[in-house]
């Protein structure tokens, strides 16, 4: 089913027209209301009047994740807090979190975007959705929640964790739709097998996102939970889950172009690449009121497919991102920057230089492992085992509070972390996801 055929199946020429109108509106209001954007425009000698439509998009300045840090917490909001009805936050590149805000209208649009995907998989008001994304500052939980309510489904706001209870709830409440990260879905599937309750499940659709996953994981999840597994994409800066999502044909994720304009650029030069090229994904939000962004660099590497889709929707499809143009890692659905780890180690070391460290990420039994090796130094070392264990414990603790996920910390001998051209290789990601 197509939730909003007028928008979702709009002829491409009309989409362009609509985008142009909305872009002009957005640029104008942001120029008035957002200092950072105004400064960037002025630097380029651009005035809102110079932007007549989508054809002028590439003239506009980029925006970056660091802007969210520099204008923390509310500096990029385009509406006064009295009109902001909710904020969400996620991790930034350094210790500081980034904050995004939504007006009532923004939340409605978000809910509809998520619901479009539910509709594509024939989820109706008769369905029961178990939302097992984390609730809270993370956009996953409340994003899926809003989408479910928009469809009129019965929403179970389960949040993440407590696997036994999750499965019991699915069985007892008769959940037909599951929303969570793909790795958690797989874990749930394994537990369902162990508990031998698969035949008591009523699941038919799973909406999974927030972390990279593979086609083979998809098949495994589908087999274990007896549902159709669908891929969804989003990021807090732009919206949260629901910026794009698969349709019933599952050949890429439709980007809801009545709200977001995607571009693919060369991450080094910033040039827009020809249709079909692989490069960095950039988004412009053309309807967002509370926290709008122009040409936001997602750092996700992927490509766009403008060919018509069998489903009848005319909105462009993006391929699953295959990597990042920065060093961000997604571990168990959480964004991790090596710089955050570095900052923690610097604090703990009590030294002016960071101890040498290395992050090792792998996927074992479909769960991400996250190890941080830290080279021992005379400052950190003491004669007794207890003190050394205390140092290890302190690093673990501080990493957990800075990143929001647990790391296994290992203290290693000095000079044992391999260096290439004098610089240590900071991240080893052994996960094979493409």
């Amino acid at each position: 089913m197509i939730l909003n055929p007028q928008m979702e199946c709009m002829p491409r020429e009309e989409i362009k027209k609509l985008q142009s109108e909305r872009l002009v509106w957005q640029v104008k209001r942001m120029y008035e209301k957002v200092e950072c954007f105004r400064n960037r425009m002025d630097e380029k000698g651009l005035k809102p009047e110079d932007i007549h439509g989508v054809e002028d998009l590439s003239k506009l300045p980029f925006s970056y994740k660091s802007d969210l840090r520099d204008y923390y917490p509310y500096g990029l909001f385009a509406e006064p807090l009295s009109d902001i009805v909710r904020v969400h936050a996620s991790s930034g590149t350094t210790g500081k979190r980034i904050v995004v805000g939504y007006t009532e209208n923004d939340l409605k649009i978000w809910a509809e975007c998520f619901a479009r995907m539910l509709a594509a998989f024939d989820v109706t008001k008769e369905d029961i959705i178990q939302v097992s994304y984390g609730y809270g500052l993370f956009t996953g939980g409340l994003g899926a929640h809003g989408g479910g309510e928009y469809m009129g489904c019965t929403v179970i706001p389960m949040s993440s964790g407590n696997t036994q209870l999750q499965i019991q709830t699915m069985v007892d409440f008769g959940a037909t739709v599951l929303c969570c990260t793909p790795s958690y879905a797989l874990y749930l599937g394994e537990e369902v097998e162990k508990m031998g309750v698969k035949d008591q499940l009523k699941l038919k659709v799973g909406i999974f996102g927030a972390e990279p996953w593979t086609e083979s994981m998809r098949k495994e999840i589908e087999a274990k939970l007896g549902l159709k597994a669908c891929d969804i994409y989003g990021l807090s800066e732009i919206l949260g889950p629901g910026v794009s999502g698969e349709c019933e044909y599952q050949e890429g994720m439709h980007v809801w172009e009545d709200h977001f304009i995607p571009e693919i650029i060369d991450p080094d030069t910033g040039e827009v690449l020809p249709e079909g090229s692989t490069g960095e994904l950039v988004f412009t939000t053309i309807t967002k009121e509370g926290f709008p962004l122009i040409r936001y660099r997602t750092r996700d590497i992927c490509s766009l497919n403008y060919e018509p889709c069998k489903c009848g929707r005319t909105h462009v499809r993006m391929r699953k991102p295959t990597g990042r143009s920065d060093d961000m890692l997604i571990i168990r659905g959480v964004n991790v920057f090596p710089s955050q780890v570095e900052e923690v180690l610097l604090k703990v070391s009590g030294d002016s230089i960071t101890p040498n460290y290395q992050i090792v990420v792998d996927r074992v039994n479909n769960n991400d492992t996250f190890d941080v090796n830290v080279e021992m130094s005379e400052k950190l070392f003491a004669d007794d085992v207890k003190s050394v264990e205390r140092v290890e414990g302190m690093i673990t603790e501080k990493l957990r509070s800075a990143l929001g996920i647990g790391a296994k910390v290992h203290l290693v001998n000095p000079n044992t972390i391999k260096r290439s051209e004098g610089k240590a290789k900071r991240v080893i990601d052994n996960r094979k996801l493409v």
């Binding site: 021992m376 130094s377 003491a382 004669d383 085992v385 050394v388 264990e389 203290l411 001998n413």
Partner: protein, 143 residues
């Protein structure tokens, strides 16, 4: 007698311990005692050597994390009850012991023990008063 002990950080990996002792051997350092406290991830190796300063330099240059720690060396008669006699003196004086291990002495009929007490100087004093600890530095270090 208060003596110098080397505490060395050892990662739990094949060959790490051997490479440390090899560095010492190459620098003509004689080990008279060695004890390893270990966890799953790492160990702390404690050694008494004849030339602590040479050993410290050699290990540091080899990229090993090492610290010099003061400990008390106690000499006692090499008979049953020798160890408990010395430890009783420490405990009767309400001094906690963090760790202890045996050491090779060079004097006939005497055994050596290394103690890491919480109160180093007081432990040494009470042992001395009780008749322990009359060790010649030559017994431990090569001077």
């Amino acid at each position: 007698m208060i003596i110098k002990q080397l505490s060395v950080f050892v990662e739990n990996k094949k060959g790490k311990l051997a490479s440390i002792t090899e560095t010492l051997a190459n620098n003509d350092v004689d080990i008279s005692s060695l004890a390893l406290a270990d966890t799953t991830d790492f160990g702390v190796l404690r050694i008494i050597v004849d030339k602590p300063d040479v050993a410290y330099r050699a290990l540091t240059e080899a990229g090993v994390v090492v610290k010099i720690t003061d400990v008390v060396a106690v000499a006692m008669d090499d008979v049953p009850g020798g160890v408990s006699g010395a430890l009783n003196v420490v405990s009767e004086n309400n001094i906690n012991i963090e760790y202890v291990y045996a050491c090779v002495g060079k004097t006939q009929g005497k055994a050596l023990m290394v103690i890491k007490p919480e109160e180093l100087e007081r432990a040494e004093a009470v042992l001395y008063q009780a008749g322990y600890g009359k060790i010649s530095p030559a017994d431990i270090y090569r001077i």
